[in-house]
């Protein structure tokens, strides 16, 4: 018996959890076209948050390529250039090691298209790949040093000297399309959200450009070399600076190919991730406050991707009554309360999510937003607390009853059912005739819920689209939601109902709530049209492009 009770309680708790923790669900799926729009915004966001620009990066550690190794794996032209370089530097005379040191290798992408794909997810950690198709790229370094180290010296210490090609730039022409994948991950931590660039893969890029050196232009700022004279026995060997300089200038094209061949052949797998073991990380808050006339709090709770690569983000959301409450602890313990009007079982929520998944694929949408009925009711309450309804109500003799107002997504379509608990003040002769000073009854509107852009400012608008109140509702009330009617047994009932209906009809097309959301500017939430899915949720979708297209989720 105890076990049964526990099981029932657990199931009840699960059901509640399903509703309370799924206030907002955001879904995304990006294709080639929509990814670019998103990546551009992500890039700006990362740069503004001191993350740097992933499309313009430097390798901090010098890249060292040992030239003592067998040259057989290099193309014949490059082998010959290296042998000639050895000869110019007279390296065959010494027991020496020699290598190329590339300092501050960096790339800068001029133009690219990109596709963002989630790959795997586990425990609130989602990995993504951005497949970048790069057109026009500059690879540069502060210097490429051809470094020689003489091992056997009189003092016993090695002598190192180098010929440095300063500020070389390899400009890859836009005719050559190269692939450059990047690996990312997002992870929800207890206190924050981690965005990390884990991998920048230059291997495909080098594999491609090494085959078409003609499409690479090289520029060099200067050549720097030391004055070196080495004494071997009685013989002094001086480096012929003019000869070396001439070698680098006249055989610049071979040097270009040689350096790229060497980087590609000798760095091998290291090019698959030039970040090596040092991913770039950005920590951002997982809880956001949107402070306007109402103070909204959003907290990222879950993040995952499914087998069809739809990204799924769950957010908890609530409202605070004051800005002070936001500042202290996001008012977790002191939210604006809201009555849970309907239990939406987990099964229904699952169906709603599946419907949204299918819709997003069928309509080729990139972004989906699903908001719970309970969250809408928190929003309605918050707007009431902020006094945003007062004007409309004051124009009539309508006052809010104790149950105030709430929304239900009862039927699939463009509108939601808004129920209001009304206290209607009777005056003068009306009061005498009816024999009451006030009446209480529910009214019902079909409302539209949209975010619209007015003169460049996003605004949340709740607009009356249909009058759904009839005499039956006025008389019977809505006892299941605690709204009783006192119209049932009044004198001159027909006449009074006619008068009330006249006043109610005046609400048609009224905008009940008009809330500026300037912080939504620059996000994808600037314009959205919400549709009721008939399963207790309000859904909106968007196809991203040069001009974003709002989905009609009917």
């Amino acid at each position: 018996m105890k076990f049964l009770l526990l099981t029932v309680l657990s199931l009840f708790a699960l059901n509640l959890k399903a509703q309370e923790s799924t206030d907002i669900i955001i879904k995304s799926r990006f294709d080639y076209e929509s990814s670019l729009s998103f990546i551009k915004r992500l890039r700006a966001f990362l740069m503004n948050n001191n993350f740097g620009d992933p499309y313009n990066q430097s390798v901090q550690k010098p890249i060292v390529i040992d030239l003592n190794r067998n040259l057989q794996d290099l193309p014949p032209g490059t082998q010959k250039w290296i042998k000639d370089l050895q000869s110019v530097l007279q390296l065959q005379l010494f027991e020496s090691s020699y290598k190329i040191v590339v300092n501050d290798l960096s790339y800068s992408i001029n133009d690219f298209n990109s596709e963002l794909r989630p790959t795997v997810s586990y425990l609130n950690r989602v990995e993504y790949v951005t497949m970048n198709y790069v057109q026009g790229l500059t690879i540069s370094a502060t210097s490429i040093a051809f470094q020689v180290e003489l091992k056997k010296t009189v003092s016993g210490d090695p002598i190192t000297f180098s010929v440095e090609v300063q500020n070389p730039q390899f400009n890859i022409r836009p005719e050559m399309m190269v692939e450059m994948p990047m690996g990312w991950l997002t992870s929800i931590m207890p206190e924050y959200l981690l965005i990390s660039l884990q991998q920048v893969d230059l291997k495909k890029l080098f594999d491609t450009i090494v085959k078409k050196p003609d499409l690479i232009d090289i520029t060099v700022q200067d050549l720097k070399m030391p004055k070196v004279a080495i004494k071997i026995g009685n013989k002094t060997i001086s480096f012929d600076r003019e000869k070396i300089k001439k070698f680098f200038i006249t055989r610049q094209q071979e040097m270009k190919k040689g350096v790229i061949d060497l980087i590609q052949a000798r760095l091998g797998n290291r090019l698959e991730n030039i970040l090596n073991d040092t991913p770039q990380e950005l920590i951002i808050p997982r809880t956001y406050a949107l402070e306007s006339k109402i103070n909204a709090i959003f907290d990222i709770q879950e993040m995952s991707t499914n087998n069809s690569k739809l990204l799924h983000v769950v957010m908890d959301a609530h409202f605070c009554s004051t800005e002070e409450a936001v500042g202290s602890d996001f008012c977790w313990q002191n939210k604006i309360p809201s009555t849970l009007r309907r239990e939406i079982p987990q099964k229904t929520l699952d169906k709603s999510v599946r419907d949204l998944n299918r819709y997003m694929i069928e309509s080729d949408s990139n972004l989906g937003v699903s908001v719970s009925e309970h969250y809408l009711n928190q929003l309605i309450n918050a707007t009431m607390v902020a006094g945003l309804w007062e004007k409309d109500m004051a124009d009539k003799e309508f006052h809010m009853g104790p149950e105030k107002a709430f929304v239900l997504g009862e039927e699939k379509g463009t509108t939601f059912s808004l129920y209001m608990d009304i206290v209607y003040k009777l005056k003068g002769a009306q009061r005498l005739l009816v024999g009451r000073s006030e009446l209480r009854f529910p009214i019902k509107f079909g409302i539209g819920l949209n975010i619209v852009d007015i003169e460049g400012v996003p605004r949340l608008q709740i607009q009356v689209k249909k009058i759904l109140t009839d005499s039956d509702l006025l008389i019977e009330g809505l006892p299941q939601y605690g709204i009783i009617s006192t119209v049932v047994d009044i004198r001159f009932r027909k006449k009074v109902i006619k008068e009330i209906m006249k006043e109610i009809n005046e609400f048609n097309n009224n905008i009940l709530v008009d809330l500026e959301l300037p912080e939504f500017k620059g996000t994808y939430l600037e314009e959205l049209e919400f549709f009721s899915d008939g399963l207790g949720r309000a859904n909106a979708s968007l196809r991203l492009g040069k001009k974003n297209k709002i989905g009609k989720m009917l």
């Binding site: 499914n306 087998n307 069809s308 599946r354 299918r358 694929i361 069928e362």
Partner: protein, 98 residues
Amino acid sequence: MKSLLLLSLFSFSSLALPPVKCESGDIKLTIIESAKGEIYLTYLQESVVADGIVDTKEVDLIAKFPNAGEMTLFAKIGKDSKDNYLFFKGLRRALSCK
């Protein structure tokens, strides 16, 4: 024969439900749910793990095939209904599943 029987028993023991077969014109799909709850959707010998549900009454799935592309399907099993459909390559088609 004995080993074939054993193999069959093993195969069925690793499935949660018997396979569901769906047809939309010349498009034939097989849906198998493993004991682990993974739903495999097969089309033209290409199998992927789909998302959604399959039970004795209903199929409600989305899937992404590496070659064929994305697909959504919804159907009451064993019933012809105008609500049953397959969405594939930009077209919504009638679907029946059994």
